[in-house]
């Protein structure tokens, strides 16, 4: 029996409303507990602290009392790369195909048992979304009882990262299969961070599906590598052509500007027609 690839391709993505995000950290912990992320005695060295979802605090750089802050949750961006061909910065460099781009879902996977720990992908990722298991994961006695079987605990010496809770997609599809449905509903597959966010700042769905909220929020332009048409929406480091699938929305201009590097004077030119410059 020849199958098509389960209908048309999805392109799962995320929209984070930075004006709603309060920096509470629920997404980080929801992610950690969903994905069996280990913890160690000292997690204050953030450069070796595994947080698939990390909330950055950014400021407008002005002095008291003109200061403003904004929290920016940063999962893996699941970059599609130039032209959305799947050549994300990390996938293209992995020597052993331990990370790959799934064209049917747009998700960048990480296979822990394939990874041999060269860390090239980490160097290639400008978002620092990838984490290395410098230590053996260890849980206090008895605590391993809360580990979920849906995500395998990682061993020492491999790289890990946000998977958009892909296992939830698998589970949703399993349910669809036994109910003999062809595809899943928008609400059936939501990431753990989206589900937990008490502020409702995170929206998750299929960027290829006009019925999905994420699509309506950012209006991704399929002919322009998913560039948002919504002028309040932006992506991190879009100019590098990584083509991320995580979008941010903010009313605040300085926040949108902080999303990318601009030479002097460049922002003034693009800020008002951001997203429309292809027209």
């Amino acid at each position: 029996m020849k199958q098509d690839k389960h209908g048309k391709n999805h392109k799962f993505g995320m929209v984070v409303d930075l004006d709603k995000c309060t920096g509470c950290g629920s997404c980080m912990v929801a992610c950690m507990s969903e994905n069996n992320v280990p913890f160690k005695e000292d997690e204050s060295r953030k450069k070796d602290s595994i947080t698939w979802m990390r909330v950055y605090k950014i400021t407008n750089g002005k002095s008291f009392p003109e200061t403003e802050i904004c929290y920016m949750p940063r999962p893996c961006m699941h970059c599609g790369g130039k032209g959305d061909h799947g050549h994300s910065p990390c996938v293209s460099v992995c020597p052993a195909v331990a990370t790959d781009y799934d064209h049917s879902s747009g998700i960048v996977s990480q296979i822990y048992t394939r990874c041999f720990g060269c860390r090239y992908c980490m160097g290639a990722c400008p978002y620092h979304a990838r984490y290395f298991n410098w230590w053996d994961p260890k849980w206090p006695e008895g605590m391993e009882n809360y580990l979920s079987p849906d995500v395998s605990p990682r061993m020492r010496g491999v790289v890990e990262k946000c998977s958009f809770c892909f296992h939830r997609y698998q589970e949703a599809r399993d349910r669809a299969y036994v109910e003999e449905r062809d595809d899943i509903e928008e609400q059936e597959y939501q990431t753990a961070c989206t589900q937990a966010c008490p502020a409702g700042a995170i929206t998750f769905g299929d960027l290829n599906n006009p019925d999905h909220e994420v699509y309506q929020m950012v209006e991704p332009d399929a002919h322009n590598c998913g560039k948002p048409k919504n002028p309040k929406a932006f992506r991190l480091l879009e100019r590098l052509q990584t083509n991320p699938k995580v979008y941010y929305i903010s009313e605040r201009e300085w926040v949108r500007k902080a999303g990318d590097n601009y030479l002097e004077g460049e922002w003034e030119k693009v800020k008002n027609n951001h997203g429309n410059d292809h027209e």
């Binding site: 394939r114 041999f116 720990g117």
Partner: protein, 414 residues
Amino acid sequence: MDSALIPKGAKRCPFPVFALGIAVVGVVLLWGVYAMGLCWFKGLNQTNMDDYYGFALWIWADLAVIAIGGGAFFTGLLRYVFGIDELKNIINLAVVIGFICYSSALLILAIDVGQPLRSWFIFWHANVHSMLTEVAFCLSLYFSVLTIEFVPLILENRKLDKVPFFHNLGHNMHGVMAVFAATGAFLSCFHQGSLGGVAGVMYGRPFAFREGLLVWPWTFFLFTWSAAAYGPCFTLCVLKMFEKITKKKLVKDNVVHLLAKISGWMITTYIIAKIIDTVYWATVTAPSQGQTFMDFYSNNPFYGVWILVLEIVVCGIVPAVILTTQKFRENRKLLLVAIILGTFGVCLNRWVMVLQVMAAPVMTFDTWAMYIPSWQEVATTILPVAYGVILIALAYRYLPVFPQELELNADQQD
């Protein structure tokens, strides 16, 4: 005491002195082996690397030894393929150095990966689009070429050479060495380049990213060229060290000057290319990604513009001028300055192209990452140096590494 093994007619220091020297270096070696054991058994938490600085001292050491080991492939290419016969007097040294450098590189890589027992995945499950895959393949293949090139030299040992099989094997291998050398040069061009490509293809890292030709970023060509250019500098450095330690002249000046001259012209062409590359990157590539040249050289305690000046002017233009000018390169002191600067320069280039890439922030709200290696990293980096010293000392003592040695030291023979 070990005279039976020492090349006929050559004068070597008394065995106890030699043994003592080896023992001293051996202690350093053991220290490195201990650190290596820690890294293997306890994991990479023994290092000070982190998620920002995933490539650190080791990868630099790796790239650096491969670059300075480039003398082997380049001299081999000149000697066997281009037929510059004088170089036969220094080719053995180049090969031994190359062998040490490449075996060290492989050893360092084996410590550097998080899962050494899975290293073979890079071959079996190769992603052919990854520069690192290319590095791994060419590196291991080229190492086998170096081994092939090294074997005949070993077989020339006075005792081994007595065995007809070994004698004939050495002879026959010499006969087809050009084929091996040519293959080695081909492999070397690719993996030296791929190492450059490793940095250049990271389009998420504006400091490293370079446009290029087909699948190869400009750094690919720059790395190959620089290894060829600077590699001989290191070969000459080692030669000078030998001459200093043994208090003997081992290679004739005309050979040294020839290699120095070739190296000088290579450096000259390389440094012009490097300047063009830097200017293009600073004025076109990086600005297209919204970053200015100074973004990469300020707001951090270490990576200032000085590093670029040091690399290009002090360690690039200066040795180039010295080595291309006959008067200068024939001045012993200036020659020494030039080859040391050259060796340092290529190491510095590798440092910058690996570590500064990791250190420079890309997201606007990110910060420079700084790092100081742990003692385990230092020890495992010194380990190959100690191993190299021992191997090269053994080679010098027991193998006819320098064909001109006897001729040049006729008065000292016993």
